[in-house]
């Protein structure tokens, strides 16, 4: 990676290891870098500890999604999913445990995979991507057991409601669809851009981020980031953030979201933007919180830069890891 390549690098996905001491990040060149958080956060950390301990090319195309199970790191490349054992990765071995492809209908262009989630109930992997469909794979057998069709344009994000066992998907067509995971049938379809409070026609109608917390749902993208009450299927608060949001999470009583613009927005449920913390990339794609490990409880964000900002105290940027 020369300096010019680094200049044009974008980080699209992140995932913390099950023990919480390592961070894996994927970029637009198809590389995955594994960083040691314990080294970077230790008191005698140096410049070298902010570099990855392992950096390898995992896929042909950009790695848009990373997901960690208890033992493995799943990465989504150009239409394929690879699994890497965390234990092996920590030992710097880059052999994939398995690589599988959902069954695609189109053959001219390989669709990307934008989102992956795991349904803990039946241990299945749910992926959504460029072919407008949601594929469900059984983790044990590796068989793609079902396909959820309904979106008219590609799928940006996926979300899982544990209590009801529902899958939420947001797509380029501007619709948030709710599916029942047992019956694999669509339950609801919300077209966010049709709601005046949220709609921003100057940007577009796509939904690029989704998050749920019991009865609440966050969604945003072209339309403004808004908090929805799922029972009543109506937006309760709309957040006045200028850019298009790409990822949002619920954290304690805050909502944190990243998107266009070099900052992390902290918002309150009521609809006010509490703070906007500046960070180094000029726009952000991914936000991740390391909640598994109390020692290394950090928030990391990555975007249009080869650097990943690390927040030890969520109020300010502590340092940056770099590819």
């Amino acid at each position: 990676m020369g300096p010019v390549e680094l200049l044009h690098m974008s980080v699209f996905s992140q995932s913390f290891s099950p023990c919480g001491r390592f961070l894996a990040a994927g970029n637009n060149y198809g590389e995955i870098a594994v960083f040691s958080l314990s080294a970077a956060l230790s008191p005698d950390a140096s410049e070298g500890s902010q570099k990855p301990i392992l950096n390898f090319t995992a896929h042909d195309g950009p790695v848009f999604s990373l997901l960690s199970t208890d033992t493995h790191l799943l990465s989504a490349g150009n239409g394929e999913i690879s699994a890497w054992s965390w234990a092996e990765l920590i030992k710097k071995s880059t052999k994939a445990a398995w690589t599988r492809k959902p069954n695609y209908e189109t053959s001219l262009e390989i669709p990307e995979i934008n989102a992956m989630i795991i349904s803990p109930k039946d241990n299945s992997l749910i992926v959504g991507g460029g072919d407008n469909n949601i594929h469900i794979m059984d983790m044990e057998t590796g068989v793609f057991k079902s396909v959820l069709k309904g979106h008219t344009d590609y799928i940006h994000c996926l979300c899982f409601k544990e209590r009801e066992g529902e899958i939420l998907s947001g797509g380029e067509d501007g619709a948030v669809r709710i599916w029942d995971s047992r019956t694999n049938r669509p339950v609801h379809c919300i077209e966010v851009f049709k709601y005046e409070e949220c709609a921003r026609p100057q940007f577009g109608k796509w939904i690029s981020c989704l998050a749920t917390d019991s009865d609440w749902m966050l969604c945003g993208g072209g339309p403004s980031l808004s908090l929805w009450h799922l029972r009543s299927m109506s937006p309760t608060s709309v957040f006045p953030l200028p850019g298009c949001q790409r990822e949002a999470v619920f954290y304690q009583d805050l909502i944190m979201s990243v998107g266009e613009g070099p900052y992390v927005s902290h918002c309150l449920h009521g609809g006010t933007v509490k703070a906007q913390i500046p960070c180094s990339p000029s726009s952000l794609n991914t936000l991740a919180l390391n909640l598994k490990n109390t020692e290394h409880r950090v928030m990391t964000v990555g975007g249009s830069s080869h650097q990943i900002d690390v927040f030890t105290n969520f109020s300010y940027r502590a340092f940056s890891l770099s590819f």
Binding site: V4, L7, P62, G204
Partner: protein
């Protein structure tokens, strides 16, 4: 005395005081009975002490008589009184006694004196004798001394040692039976032998002198003969020149060059030899020649006494001048010192690199004697007249043509670390000020001359010719590549300024047939202007911009959309690809920082040089990059589906490019990758 004579007349007394009794007796014998009275004899018989007592008595008696007379006279006695007369008679006797005593005393005195005198005389004589003898002794001693000190000339002659003498000298001279015992004879014999030897050697000397004269004359004759040959040979050489050229074996030229090359300083000599060798072996289009003043070069290597004379003369001159021009300031002296420090060797090398299209790169190599570094100046001569392209002004600028031939070799500072101390002495702070005059001291120039300084990164341990040879091929290739790159850029720039992007047939497959966006402006910028642009800060922060780079602004337009691209061109183009930074003016201003799609276009143009560089040596990189920029702008504008002001009117840019999907991935990027020959756009 007459009274005495009267009184003592009876006997005729002949007093003789000093005469010999015999003589007196002789005279006395003529008288009858002469009683010889010798008072001296009597004197010897009397004791002085007794005489003294007698005198005292007599005086006392006299005094007594006088006293009696006095008494008598006082008593009234008459003059003729008998007692007085008696006493008078007695006193007269006493007087006579006294007189005799006086006489005796005188005689004693005289006798004493005589004796003393005699003794003295004797002593004097002896003394005189002593003196004479002493004088004689001294004289003799001096003579002896002189004799002993006498150095005969013969001792100054170095004689052969005794053993040698006895060995060498013939028997009649050495006469060992005599000389072994007698030093004097030995020395004489040795002197004889010396004389003999000298005579013989003198003979030999005369003969050899004569023969030397003869030989000298013979040499003179031969020399004249040779010098008469010289013009003939010259004529032959001249006549053979055309033959040499015809046969392309320029012997004479090479000989002449070799002759001049002897006066080159070592680094230039190494350079000459290596470049010549390389040119002969690998590269027929490389030639090297020496230029400059040979006489001055010879003057530099003149023997020191000549130069000392020169120095003393010039010192004298300088003194004169100094007294005349007292106003010569410290600054002027320092200036002279600086000039002296930066002096160039009078000889320089000229290396010509010819390219296939007929253009030539002339390199002039100079050697700075006091600083021990080589510098180079360049000149480009092209076969065709280069059309005036305004933006291409800097491309062939001789100052910067060879900048960064190897990465970070700027040629502004001297690579020899010891020059720093020399500069401090004469107050030169930056060598860069003198570079335009003296030439650039690039590191590769030093390496080609075999000079390696400890500040260089590599410690390869090669020196001299080995170092030069190891760098020669690569450097010549880089030089040629540089010239070709610049010339091709020159041509491309003149085309770009006319808003035509020259795409060669080999590269047509990279782009679709129809490209609507067009280049409307191509201008050059200065480094200052570049850093002031808002949308290039990320490149500056990443440290990818240097002052030695060239900066350009390209403007691509389509309809109301205007894309500004700031280009950073590294001097090592095309080894380092140009860097584009974009800013789009269309319904607002967007840059690569704010718009992910513009960033993707930047990436498309900057990162994929392997696709865009075209056929070797990759000189079409820039024009292909610009063409790709136009294509990407087309795609960008045509796939913008959002209409900002909410109206549903016809889109400004109808979709003409074939794209399978207009958005992909979380950042919804547009398809910028062109697929040939299918002709559609897809995502990377």
């Amino acid at each position: 005395m007459s009274s005495d004579a009267v009184k003592k007349r009876k006997p005729k007394v002949i007093r003789s005081e000093g005469g010999t009794p015999e003589a007196k007796r002789g005279r006395g014998e003529s008288d009858q009975e002469v009683r010889v009275y010798n008072e001296e004899v009597e004197l010897e018989g009397r004791d002085p002490q007794q005489d003294y007592m007698l005198y005292k008595d007599t005086c006392a008696a006299l005094a007594k008589l006088m006293a009696e007379i006095q008494e008598l006279k006082a008593g009234g006695a008459k003059d003729g009184n008998v007692e007085i007369e008696e006493r008078r008679r007695q006193s007269s006797v006493h007087f006579i006694t006294l007189k005799k005593l006086n006489r005796l005393a005188h005689m004693r005195l005289k006798k004493g004196r005589d004796q003393t005198h005699e003794a003295k005389q004797r002593v004097d004589v002896l003394h005189l004798q002593l003196q004479n003898l002493l004088y004689e002794v001294m004289h003799l001693q001096k003579e002896i001394g002189k004799c002993l000190e006498f150095k005969s000339q013969h001792e100054e002659i170095e004689l052969v040692s005794e053993e040698e003498f006895f060995q060498e000298a013939p028997a009649e001279i050495s006469r060992p039976h005599v000389t072994r015992n007698d030093q004097h004879q030995l020395t004489l014999a040795r002197l004889d032998w010396e004389l003999e030897q000298r005579k013989r050697l003198a003979e030999q000397y005369k003969t050899s002198l004569a023969s030397k004269e003869k030989i000298q004359r013979a040499i003179e004759q031969k020399r004249e003969y040779l010098s008469s040959l010289q013009p003939g040979l010259q004529n032959i050489m001249q006549a053979s020149l055309p033959v040499q050229e015809y046969l392309s074996m320029p012997f004479e030229h090479m000989q002449k060059q070799a002759e001049v090359a002897r006066h080159l300083p070592p680094p230039l000599y190494v350079l000459l030899v290596q470049v010549g060798a390389y040119g002969q072996a690998c590269d027929k289009n490389l030639s090297v020649s020496i230029s400059g003043d040979v006489d001055e070069a010879k003057a530099l290597s003149r023997p020191p006494d000549d130069s000392q004379d020169d120095e003393s003369d010039s010192d004298a001159e300088e003194e004169q001048q100094n007294t005349k021009r007292r106003r010569a300031t410290v600054g002027a002296q320092l200036d002279d010192k600086r000039k002296g420090m930066l002096r160039r060797h009078p000889l320089s090398l000229c290396v010509d690199l010819k390219c296939k299209d007929g253009s030539v790169l002339h390199l002039f190599f100079y050697y700075l004697m006091n600083l021990n570094i080589l510098t180079v100046k360049t000149k480009v001569s092209t076969s065709a007249d280069l059309s005036g392209a305004v933006s291409a002004g800097e491309l062939l600028n001789t100052e910067s043509l060879l900048n960064c031939l190897y990465a970070s070799d700027h040629g502004k500072e001297t690579p020899n670390p010891s020059n720093r101390y020399q500069f401090d002495k004469v107050g030169i702070t930056t060598f860069a000020d003198y570079v335009s005059d003296l030439g650039h001291p690039y590191v590769w120039v030093q390496k080609l001359g075999g000079l390696q300084f400890s500040s260089d990164g590599s410690q390869s341990g090669l020196r001299g010719s080995a170092l030069s040879a190891s760098h020669m091929e690569r450097t010549i290739k880089l030089l040629r590549g540089r010239l070709q790159a610049r010339l091709s850029l020159h041509k491309q720039f003149s085309s770009l300024e006319h808003s035509i992007i020259p795409v060669s047939s080999e590269c047509q497959h990279l782009f679709p047939a129809k490209v609507i966006s067009g280049l409307t402006r191509w201008t050059m910028m200065s480094h200052q202007e570049f850093t002031e642009l808002g949308f290039v800060q990320h490149v500056l922060k990443a440290g990818l911009v240097h002052e030695t780079d060239l900066f350009f602004m390209a403007v691509v337009e389509r309809g109301t959309a205007r894309l500004m691209a700031a280009v950073v061109l590294n001097p090592r183009y095309p080894d380092v690809s140009p860097l584009f930074s974009l800013s789009l003016l269309w319904k607002g201003e967007r840059s690569g920082r704010s718009d992910d799609n513009l960033r993707a276009i930047e990436s498309e143009v900057n990162v994929f040089r392997s696709e865009l560089q075209g056929p070797r040596p990759g000189l079409q990189l820039l024009t292909n990059q610009i063409q790709r920029l136009c294509v990407c702008l087309d795609v960008y504008l045509e796939t913008e589906s959002q209409v900002c002001d909410g109206s549903e009117g016809p889109k400004e840019f109808p979709r003409e490019k074939m794209c399978l999907r207009t958005a992909r991935g979380p950042s919804r990027l547009k398809p910028f990758k062109y697929n040939h020959p299918q002709g559609f756009f897809s995502h990377r």
